[in-house]
């Protein structure tokens, strides 16, 4: 049965979220996926639409997108999150400046051994390239989330908004063009090696 019919405004929420750990931050190349959500702001009184309701988009009378709802907030009908395959995000390493390791020791299970902990703070530069393969300009939010191992130092361009630990960039990318963001991070790299304590190393000459 017919429930409602209304005009609505359509917006696209595109977002790419970056987060590194001590291993991924030094990777030569990473690929990130752009998440897209369709938000319909309906005119008239709000309607409660259950989550996971099927939704079909028609253009010129033909269906071109099948998805489902994730929920409603007032007059906003929000679609589920999809991966936008027409936006490519490449993440390449530019430079690693290794810091001086600081050596400390921890107790091992065997009293004759100890764990050598080498901690160094590396400065890592990475560049994110976002390519828009669509035939229209898009708005995209790039979000970097700082972690305990990888902290933000600076970026080019500067973030549009900082809400620790999130750094957000509002990007506008014209059709078939690329946009770049360079990051400089500080990464805490820790390595642990179990070794025999020097006092227990037998002299080979004796």
């Amino acid at each position: 049965m017919n429930w409602f019919k209304a005009k609505c405004k359509l917006t696209h929420d595109r977002k790419v979220s970056l987060q590194y750990d001590e291993n991924t931050v030094t990777s030569n190349k990473l690929n990130w996926e752009v998440a897209i959500k369709y938000v319909l702001v309906k005119e008239g009184e709000p309607k409660e639409i259950p989550p996971k309701s099927p939704m079909t988009f028609y253009k010129a009378g033909l269906p071109f997108l099948f998805l489902s709802t994730s929920g409603t907030i007032g007059n906003k009908i929000i679609s589920e999150e999809l991966i936008d395959d027409d936006i490519l995000v490449d993440d390449d390493i530019i430079e690693i400046k290794e810091g001086k390791p600081e050596i400390t020791f921890e107790d091992a299970r065997d009293p004759k051994e100890h764990i050598e902990v080498r901690t160094r703070f590396d400065r890592i530069t990475r560049r994110i390239t976002i390519e828009n393969k669509l035939d229209n300009e898009i708005n995209l939010v790039l979000e970097f989330k700082q972690t305990k191992d990888v902290t933000f130092i600076k970026s080019d361009p500067e973030p549009s908004k900082i809400e620790q630990p999130d750094y957000k960039y509002d990007l506008k990318i014209p059709s078939e063009e690329k946009s770049r963001v360079s990051f400089e991070f500080q990464a805490k790299i820790v390595s642990r090696t179990t070794k025999i304590k020097p006092a227990f190393i037998k002299d080979s000459k004796t």
Binding site: M1, W3, K5, K7, K9, L10, T56, Y58
Partner: protein, 236 residues
């Protein structure tokens, strides 16, 4: 006395099941009046069964009172055995029918199809009540109960016609499914966003306790913590 109150309102949940409201005007004799309600599905929740008396004459309140309600469900194992026998008989009819001409064929397939869809929820539950009347009179009985049958539900489909890059026209439709053995005709239909509670954690735990290792059970316990769920009625 056997009565069949009319279903006046049916609120269907999107997650399956619903609330049924039924109503009937009854004449009462002086003394104890026993009634048995017909067409109560076995999927009804006896704990939610509720009866309200609406007095036609306000003075009757002192003389007419609800004494007792008796609710019960048929035994699941026995009912299932009967259903299985019916299904097996239907299968045999199709397999061994000699005369399977056009008219017979239609009758047989209708009968067999009905039995193949039959489940425990399509059998009848028991909902009786007793009214004490100190004098003769009339009263309207309003009965409400939940039905936990996932074969009755509704869902929304949305069609979005793009008129521009940023503008569109949205059309919402409600699709109602009723694959239960009970029909509801000429009722005031309501829709709500609600999912019937899943089996309690104790029940599921006892079933799985013997097979799962202790660590896994501890993780499962965390997942079984209940979440709030508030029913939302749709305003059509």
């Amino acid at each position: 006395m056997i009565i069949d109150p009319k279903v006046t309102r049916l609120i269907i949940f999107n997650g399956g099941g619903g609330i049924v409201e039924r109503e009937i005007k009854l004449g009462l004799n002086q003394g104890t009046n026993e009634f048995q309600i017909q067409n109560i599905p076995a999927s009804f929740d006896p704990n939610s069964a509720d009866i309200k008396l609406e007095y036609l004459n306000s003075d009757d309140q002192e003389f007419i009172t609800l004494q007792q309600t008796i609710v019960s469900l048929p035994d699941r194992a026995n009912t299932q055995q009967l259903i299985d026998r019916e299904k097996s008989a239907a299968k045999n009819i199709i397999t061994y029918s000699i005369d399977f001409t056009r008219e017979m064929r239609e009758q047989i397939s209708t009968m067999c199809e009905a039995s193949s869809y039959r489940t425990y929820s399509d059998t009848n539950g028991k909902f009786d009540f007793i009214i004490n009347a100190k004098k003769e009179g009339e009263v309207i009985i309003k009965i409400t109960y939940f039905i936990a049958d996932l074969r009755m539900k509704w869902q929304t489909t949305l069609q979005v016609n793009l008129t521009d890059d940023n503008e569109a026209e949205i059309e919402g439709f409600i699709v109602v499914d009723n694959h239960t053995g009970f029909s509801y005709n000429n009722v005031d239909l309501g829709f709500a966003i609600f999912e019937l509670p899943a089996p309690s954690s104790d029940q599921v735990q006892s079933e799985s306790a013997s097979t799962l290792p202790m660590e896994q059970q501890a993780v499962n316990d965390l997942n079984f913590q209940k979440r709030t769920q508030r029913m939302k009625n749709l305003m059509l």
